[in-house]
């Protein structure tokens, strides 16, 4: 149980919550499972990427999309939240990567923000895509950004994969976002000679490897997204929709 220091809207439908963690450290790419409410409806914890971790304070950035996240958004600062974590693996680009492209779709920016806070430098460029300008999160927190929106209300109109193409050669990609985007990035990496890591999402029962509710088919067989992921190497996922 950690005290909530901040829980406020970032943009329409998006919130940022910071709380005192009862774990000592988290790495960019890892996630926490948040308990929502005090009763059994909703029952399961909700997975949220760690979007920041400093001085024992854990930050998540979330979008209110359903029952659980709507309740999360109602919790007041000063109350407590029960977070299980940090869980899963993390982004781990080779230390000699010359060009790192952070590709985030919508709320997928959350773990990339954390990575950038820890490791950001001249060699990292953020490619952020969203439906509208309201869906472009945290852009001011990245050193260099390329932005696209589907409605053209910010950056270039279109998908983030469009500007990405020309930058891919020899790059190392860290991507998080909707499944369709991740598959497109995965395909493009192959086509344009890039490698990298993709952070996936599936419904999760437990978050720590025991329910087998979150499996992903990969080149190396069935993997549990929560313990063998959420981060998978490009070229390894066998995409299913």
């Amino acid at each position: 149980m950690g005290k909530i220091l901040e829980n406020r809207p970032l943009a329409r439908g998006y919130y940022r919550m910071s709380f005192e963690a009862d774990f000592a450290e988290a790495r960019p790419g890892q996630f926490v499972m948040l308990r929502v409410g005090l009763t059994h409806d909703p029952l399961l914890r909700r997975p949220m990427s760690v979007a920041g971790f400093e001085n024992g304070v854990c930050t998540v950035i979330y979008r209110s999309v359903g029952k659980g996240t709507a309740i999360l958004a109602e919790i007041r600062e000063g109350e407590t939240v029960n977070a299980l974590g940090p869980l899963g693996n993390w982004f781990d680009p080779p230390s000699d990567a010359k060009k790192i492209l952070l590709v985030g779709g919508g709320i997928g920016v959350a773990p990339l923000r954390f990575w950038h806070r820890r490791n950001g430098g001249k060699n990292a460029v953020a490619y952020i895509g969203g439906a509208t300008k309201e869906d472009i999160l945290c852009k001011e927190e990245f050193a260099q950004t390329v932005i696209t929106t589907i409605d053209g209300s910010a950056g270039t109109r279109g998908l983030i994969t469009a500007p990405l193409v020309s930058a891919l050669e020899g790059a190392y990609v860290l991507a998080c976002g909707p499944k369709g985007m991740l598959k497109a990035v995965d395909d493009l990496c192959k086509e344009y000679g890039a490698t990298g890591e993709l952070s996936l999402e599936e419904r999760m029962g437990c978050g720590f490897g025991v329910c087998l509710g979150c499996v992903v088919d990969t080149a190396a067989g069935k993997k549990r997204l929560c313990v063998d992921g959420p981060v998978f190497k490009t070229g390894s996922v066998q995409w299913q929709f």
Binding site: R35, H40, D41, P42, L43, L44, R45, L84, E202, R203, M204, G205, C206, G207, F208, G209, V210, C211, L212, G213, C214, V215, V216, K222, Q240
Partner: protein, 304 residues
């Protein structure tokens, strides 16, 4: 300390709180979240002769106070269990119930023989909610006469306590409980999941790829308590109660209704330390209520 010991056949558990099959992995996944030796026992993910990959995704979804799963009995298989999992578990001091299932009677017997011989496996839990391939997909647990025969056959090769886990998807659970007792089973565990379904209105698709899955969690507790009560009044062998347990009061409900021990399933996902917490709370409760021996609580329901 109150006496919390309970017996399941020849097996003595230090307390009646058991982690349920399919919700506790192969045990070691919880080693850093609780003391495996502090809970009564745990039941492994259901084991089959060969490893199984399980069902396509999506496999789980949430429902009001519950969840549906259709994992499809994915497991490492009995060989890998023995080689890769059991050595570490043995060291942990945990009492292990090996949950298992087959597609034919022979598979059940063969599995029981294997597990019975394994050092570190303390009891067997036979899951009969699986379709019998030889009988055209009819579930093993859906015909009392067949269940009795299966139980008797398995019991013949199995010296360790044999628990038979019953399905709630029956009109009347009592004949099934009786069949297990008549077949020589040492205990019954009830209940497995209720068949349920959920539809994603946006996509008009079932939320579970296989359409129908198993409903678990607090939502099913009233059905589970009822069936455990019915079983406990039908047979003399111990009944292990489960279905929706999330708190000390929930566990007590089952014990008072007649369960000798309880299992916690879905709530392990939400609160990984829950089994140990409940074991501790049960002890504190007995001390506070001056219950010297948990035996006096079991089946103590007053209905006059």
């Amino acid at each position: 300390m109150a006496i919390l010991k309970v017996r399941i056949g020849s097996l003595e558990l230090s307390n009646p709180v058991i982690a349920a099959s399919g919700t506790f992995g192969y045990g070691m996944e919880f080693a850093e979240r609780l003391d495996l030796a502090a809970i009564g026992a745990f039941s492994t993910k259901g084991l089959s002769l060969k490893p199984r990959g399980g069902n396509p995704m999506p496999r789980i979804c949430e429902t009001p106070c519950g969840m549906i799963n259709s994992i499809g009995l994915e497991n490492v298989g009995v060989d890998a269990f023995e080689m890769d999992k059991l050595p570490a578990i043995r060291k942990s001091g945990a009492k292990v119930i090996a949950n298992f299932f087959g597609e034919t009677e022979e598979e059940y017997t063969e599995l029981a023989r294997r597990l019975d011989a394994m050092d570190g496996v303390h009891a067997l839990e036979m899951n009969v909610s699986c379709p019998n391939v030889e009988k055209g997909g009819i579930e093993f647990g859906s015909d009392p006469a067949f269940l009795e025969k299966l139980t008797a056959g398995v019991k013949k090769v199995c010296g360790k306590p044999l628990i038979v886990k019953l399905s709630p998807n029956v009109a009347d659970i009592k004949p099934f409980a009786k069949a297990v007792e008549n077949g020589g089973g040492d205990a019954i565990s009830a209940i497995n999941t209720l068949k349920g379904m959920s539809v994603d209105v946006k996509t008009r698709r079932p939320r579970i790829k296989r359409v129908i899955g198993g409903l678990s969690g607090p939502a099913i507790k009233p059905v589970a308590v009822r069936m455990v009560y019915e079983c406990a009044r039908t047979v003399k062998i111990p009944v292990i109660g489960l279905g929706g347990i999330a708190s000390l009061d929930d566990a007590l409900e089952f014990l008072i209704a007649g369960a000798t021990a309880v299992q916690v399933g879905t709530m392990n996902f939400v609160e990984p330390g829950i089994c140990q917490r409940l074991a501790e709370e049960l002890n504190a409760y007995c001390e506070k209520e001056k219950i010297a021996d948990i035996a006096s609580l079991i089946g103590s329901l007053i209905t006059e």
